[in-house]
Symmetry: C2
Subunit: 405 residues, 2 copies
């Protein structure tokens, strides 16, 4: 199941980025499972990574390499997450970088490794030996579409976004791919996002932006509240367009940031739309919080409530479940009679109780749609937050339970 | 579905407590839905209540009455939670207490109201007018079994526990009933627990014990992480056995506390066993935490992970999902290589990675059982906690989604 998502095909090449895809046989045969992204010399790269304390070996190494040198290659495999493997995992991650470096001009530190797939099994190094030369031979600027498919695990749709915008009179391109919420026994959903622009962006701005953009996109989606050991999001600036962003307050910076935000959100939302068992795409908007964290706490508590999620699956405008989730979000001195809740434009809760004008038909009509917004007004202050989530369906249980047997 | 639970039938009457049950027609006809517990004069009563900020009208009133006077009656209805109804809800809760008081020697403040059932619909006061005299006429000391059934919503089994113990050479009895995790459109699961002893326990000790006992029982179970607006647990001491507990450090106090703990845990675990869609009864034990809260945070994060819960449903010893849940529990400076995880006696994670001696067959054999223990050793300190949970099954989704349509 997937909610209003089709395979993206209108990729724009980004000058300075080439991509190669190979069938390395990491876990399965006859399947694209190894992707190399080559970055032109001088490209800058920023990343945000899983906050899970058990981060996988490639995540640890990727962070080290990113600090040590300017990356020239991203090496991405599916089929095996190289997680929970102790020192063997560390050694294998490094060996994969060395393998790629030995066949290029790059040093091992200039290779960033990314893995997604099964946890707790040793990386198949023979597959890397086989796949890396094939992927290098395949490097092309117009390979984004195949790369998007090549990083999938059990995603049902390759995910991409691409934009061109005029900045300071010059065209700047942004193209990105992401994957997420697939599941392979005994794997967990790993989110990966790779976004490249041909603008030149200073190191400090790029890192700040990557964090800000991920916080408002990949860090604002939730399917089941579980955080993978392998989540990564990378923002790449090749500098080849000639547009230079070195002042964060400039109109050019504003323009690029805004375009990047569109791409980040489109890629992040695509993960929810293709979420495991998703039949609904739900925007959760919380307004009127006294502090930013309050808005986020309420949004996550509602988004993670199995009772709310099953009600959404059933197109059941069960305002009592939403209200109860708000009530247990841990807000100090929450004034019940200030709380208003809306489904799109239909008010369901007024001053902490059922809205007088509310009819079950009106609520059910909103929830019958495949996309809708739940808006919660707390009436405590000026802070807001928004996140995107999916429902909890029979299919979710099947994907995560039955596939094993 | 229910896991290893049968209707409890061996209730011992508790001197000083009589129970009456009636078919009041609160929501459905021909169904016991109103229960009155009459407490002998001088009985003491302590309670713990939902921490949900949106607590229902009867919960608010119950707390007030408990502070104002010594209770003589508990008035419990199913079919309607009287939650989310604003001032009308407050007025109806009070009116129900007044109705009962007017037919007895008690004042309205001596009546404690409890409601469970549908949210957001006005209480059917005619049902109370009809049911209260019927329940009063039915008051008997040996009515615990019918009362346990009379407080159910969609529980599949009435839940009870009963013990007699010799304390200071005299027999003391403890009997309790509970309900929970039923679901009526558009209701949420409310947990109710009523436990009575004929010992005399001083006010201060009773209140402290009620909190401590609930914390180690009803507050250590989780089915889906949602907290009802109506949860209540009451501990009653009638004092009729002649055994007096006024020193918490005495052997008599130890003996009674220990027996009460058995009853509280049996009643709480019965709720998990009868949990919505439960096919597994899982004990989650976390040891070696640096602080008590750490142990609890890890236990809840694992217990609430949909990925862990679906793996349990599938009898899939998916240690990567458990490890990842531990990793995102928010512990500062968690040392991965200190973490050990066991399924019963089978070690699955050793020093943060898959245990060398682990075989999938051994793990699957543990999870094939209807009951097992997941033990997580953090290796950071001396603090521990234990909670009980169930798996996430297709039936859970059906109960919470499909029943509406």
């Amino acid at each position: 199941m997937a909610v209003n998502i089709q395979r993206f095909r209108d990729y724009l090449a980004v000058d300075g980025v080439r991509l190669g895809v190979a069938q390395a046989g990491v876990r399965y045969a006859n399947r694209d499972d190894l992707v190399i992204m080559e970055l032109a010399e001088g490209s800058r790269c920023a990343g945000v990574f899983t906050r899970n304390a058990f981060c996988a070996a490639p995540v640890v190494l990727c962070r080290q390499h990113l600090q040590a040198d300017q990356p020239r290659y991203l090496l991405i495999n599916t089929g095996n997450a190289n997680a929970g493997m102790g020192q063997q995992g560390d050694a294998d991650a490094l060996a994969s970088c060395q393998l790629l470096a030995s066949q290029t001009q790059a040093s091992p530190q200039q290779v960033l490794p990314f893995s997604t797939g099964v946890i707790g099994e040793p990386l198949n190094m023979a597959a890397f030996e086989r796949g890396i030369p094939l992927a290098l031979a395949d490097l092309r600027a117009d390979n984004w579409d195949r790369a998007a498919a090549g990083i999938m695990t059990t995603d049902t749709v390759p995910k991409g976004a691409s934009r061109e915008v005029m900045i300071a009179g010059q065209p700047v391109r942004i193209t990105g791919i992401s994957k997420g919420s697939g599941m392979i026994k005994p794997d967990m959903a790993t989110m990966l996002g790779f976004i490249a622009t041909d603008a030149e962006v200073s190191e400090a701005i790029l890192q700040r932006w990557c964090k800000q953009l991920a916080d408002a996109s990949f860090n604002r989606i939730t399917i089941d509240g579980d955080t993978s050991t392998n989540d990564c999001c990378m923002l790449i600036a090749t500098g080849r367009s000639g547009v230079v962003i070195d002042d964060e307050q400039s109109p050019a910076a504003d323009a690029l940031f805004s375009e990047l935000q569109q791409v980040f959100q489109q890629l992040a939302q695509a993960i929810v739309r293709d979420g495991e068992g998703a039949t609904k795409f739900v925007t959760l908007q919380v307004n009127g919080a006294a502090k930013p964290q309050e808005a986020l706490d309420v949004a996550y508590t509602v988004a993670h409530s199995p009772l709310v999620k099953t009600a959404m699956y059933a197109s059941d405008a069960n305002w009592g479940r939403i209200l109860a989730a708000v009530g247990r979000a841990g807000l100090q001195d929450l004034q019940l009679d200030q709380v208003q809740i809306y489904l799109d434009d239909v008010q369901i809760v007024e001053n902490g109780g059922r809205c007088a004008s509310y009819t079950e038909q009106a609520g059910a009509a909103v929830l019958a749609q495949s996309e809708f917004c739940v808006r919660i007004e707390l009436g405590r202050g000026e802070c807001s937050d928004t996140l995107w989530t999916s429902d909890l369906s029979h299919e979710y249980v099947s994907i995560n339970a039955d596939y094993r047997s």
